[in-house]
Symmetry: C2
Subunit: 91 residues, 2 copies
DNA sequence: CTACAATTTAGATGAAATTCGAAATAGGAG
DNA sequence: CTCCTATTTCGAATTTCATCTAAATTGTAG
């Protein structure tokens, strides 16, 4: 069940902040890490979780790794919320 | 940040199944617990987390406690996903 | 009032998640 | 080839989470 992985991935403030960062444009792992008061290894761990959940993709250039958002993964989560009745309502 | 609490609450298969159950109609804590191979105390723990996140509300009658869905809490989560660009797309 | 049924709270335990520093990898640059 | 920089992987320490059993609570019935 991918829903499980998606929810685990976004169930962390750091990882959500990473996604927010990538909304604007792509960044390297180092640039992303510079936004947090965390060891690079820790940010790398978060990037791995996001990658495994399919929420980001990477692109290597020289010895930099650029990360990009992949939003299609949210479809299943939105589908679950809508089915529950929690979608956008009129009024 | 309520988003944090919402995501923690739905980041568990048991709690999502409880929400799915309540989609149909309201149930007592005992009826809900009967749906899982877990101790009643464990289900009670999950109900508490859902309650604290505002995703369910309770209603006491005799010595039963009926639980109901409260979907308005999803608005913030949907707002975040939409802002990220992950909302429903055309095509 | 006493006994009972439904549910929660408390305390303990094992498993999973987050973090760090140190070591390993990968790929230029000189 | 050797060094340097960017990034990840590894192993350990700490924290958070899910679960259970046992005890407490709440409220109904008799």
């Amino acid at each position: 069940m991918a829903l499980n992985e998606t929810l685990k991935a976004i169930n962390d403030p750091v990882r959500r902040a990473i996604l927010d960062l990538l909304k604007t444009s792509d960044w390297t792992a180092g640039e992303i890490a510079a936004n947090f008061d965390l060891a690079p290894a820790t940010v790398s761990y978060h990037l791995k979780l996001l990658r495994e959940a399919g929420l980001i993709t990477l692109n290597k250039d020289k010895n930099f790794i650029y990360y990009s958002l992949n939003l299609s993964v949210f479809e299943e989560l939105l589908g679950w919320i809508y089915a529950l009745g929690g979608g956008p309502h009129d009024r």
